[in-house]
Symmetry: C2
Subunit: 306 residues, 2 copies
């Protein structure tokens, strides 16, 4: 096999109380990527998207991740990386992670499936590092593993797949730009221990709710006392979107990644569609451009396009 096309999904990191450790993969939207083995050892980016993407291999998350893989592979090998990006960069639903994770998963298949998932996450994190300045795994983890994943530890890397009941995700992406540096600066380095305790009580409740298929417990545990109150002020109408979505029947939700997208979970598709309508009404009224998605949780991560 010299060529492969894969579909690399959007992901939600910072799963409410599970800031920096819990995330999940979506079935929509997703990027399409085609990788071809080359005769030389070049790595070449071919952008087939409407979005501008860096074409220098040292600056593109996909090629940087693949270069990490090639270095570990140890033999000279080159790839064309053709990217059809559907996940808008900067939307907060793992656009750069989809590129980095998709590229290493596809390259690994072309090389004969020699690296395990955890090692692929490790390579993809080098791509993430170019995009965000930190080696984080809470998007590339679920992108590669699928489903809900826990990044228990970064060093050493420890990723745990968590089962979950059927959940429908409604996402709204208000078309504003939040700089990751601003989203970071707004967080204080210290928090009150009593608030941190509430947070890990909710993390424990969320994990138990997911594993025990307990929607009520999931819903009660979807509280974030530490990050959301700070960051949500960067997202216009965040409180109203969340509040009205819950009144519409959503189990709860919060900021996707570092925003500006907001995600809300529902038990069934009908509720998720009603939540979409609620969100749309709010941003239409405000006069802010937005995009919405309704998706189930993607249990398999990156897929071959067959």
């Amino acid at each position: 096999m010299n060529e492969i096309t894969i579909l690399s999904p959007a992901t939600v990191a910072n799963f409410v109380c599970g800031y920096d450790v819990l995330g999940f993969a979506l079935n929509e939207p997703y990027d399409e990527m085609t990788l071809r083995l080359r005769d030389d050892s070049e790595i070449k980016i071919i952008n087939k998207s409407d979005y501008d993407l860096p074409l220098e291999p040292e600056k593109n998350v996909a090629s940087v991740a693949v270069m990490s893989l090639v270095e570990r592979f140890g033999k000279k090998v080159g790839f064309d990386i053709e990217i059809t990006k559907n996940i808008k960069p900067g939307s907060g639903i793992g656009s750069s992670s989809a590129s980095a994770a998709g590229a290493v998963v596809a390259a690994n298949i072309l090389l004969g499936d020699i690296f395990d998932k955890k090692t692929l996450v490790d390579f993809a994190m080098d791509g993430e590092n170019i995009a965000s300045g930190s080696r984080h795994a809470d998007n590339v983890g679920p992108c590669i593993y699928g489903g809900v994943t826990l990044v228990r530890s970064i060093n050493p890397l420890d990723i745990v797949s968590l089962s979950s009941p059927e959940l429908f995700v409604t996402i709204v992406h208000p078309q504003i730009e939040i700089k990751t540096s601003d989203a970071r600066k707004i967080l204080q380095p210290r928090v009150f221990l009593k608030d941190a305790i509430k947070q890990w009580g909710n993390v424990a409740g969320l994990v138990a709710g997911l594993l025990q298929n307990d929607y009520e417990l999931i819903s009660r545990s979807l509280e974030d006392f530490l990050i959301e109150p700070k960051r949500s002020i960067l997202i216009p109408a965040f409180d109203e979107v969340k509040q009205k979505s819950i009144e519409t029947g959503s189990l709860g939700g919060g900021i996707s990644g570092s925003g500006p997208s907001i995600f809300m979970l529902s038990k069934d598709e009908k509720t998720a569609r009603n939540v979409e309508k609620t969100m749309s009404e709010i941003y239409t009224r405000i006069g802010l451009d937005f995009h919405t998605y309704v998706s189930t949780i993607n249990k398999y991560g990156i897929k071959n396009d067959e």
Copy 2:
């Protein structure tokens, strides 16, 4: 029925990373309590233990908890509360909780089983308040529910039972006194967010490990970056006990409650007994009096003595 005897177990709160939210019940040691309905509305403590216990109803955790229950019951009713205490007060394995929880569970049975477990925890917390100055549920929760319990939230009270694989618990109680006020003072009100994130990564891993019967994940998640490094300095030889217990085969462990007892978990009884030997050797060498227990996790909480 006018009289009942129950067995109320010791409990481990502050389950390593799950500080203030996760705890579990033990099969040994346990207190024995006999409650008798009286003809008047007095509540009378009868101490059959070797330990001094407060006899004034307003000062004893058992009677204070029962008075809460009687107040909610709304009718005039009185009890003799006979306590044979085997769990040494101040040992850090839930001595006061066993009294408070045991008393309300027994009183509830004599009144015809009218309150649910959560409401009984609420009454028992009023007893705890007398003993420790705060309404906490991480000992009375597992004492009444049995097994491993999560206190997701105190207000509103939200208690979740978590299943767990078979675990053997070795406890060593070095006979020193730690004042709860000292154990509290040593904790700073603020912690680094980056450390809190590691902590809730481990909380998520511990809950997932318990529910998925994954001993390796449980073991990896038994890390506490926030509380143990501060409090363990109050317990002589803590680091050596923990380190050598792990070398002996234990999955991990930490401070029980606010100490001075240390608990270590093992997959089988043989390892738990070897851990007991390791602990005993250390405190014998140091010349500090100590007591050890080896127990499984008590899945049922307080039991009728039948």
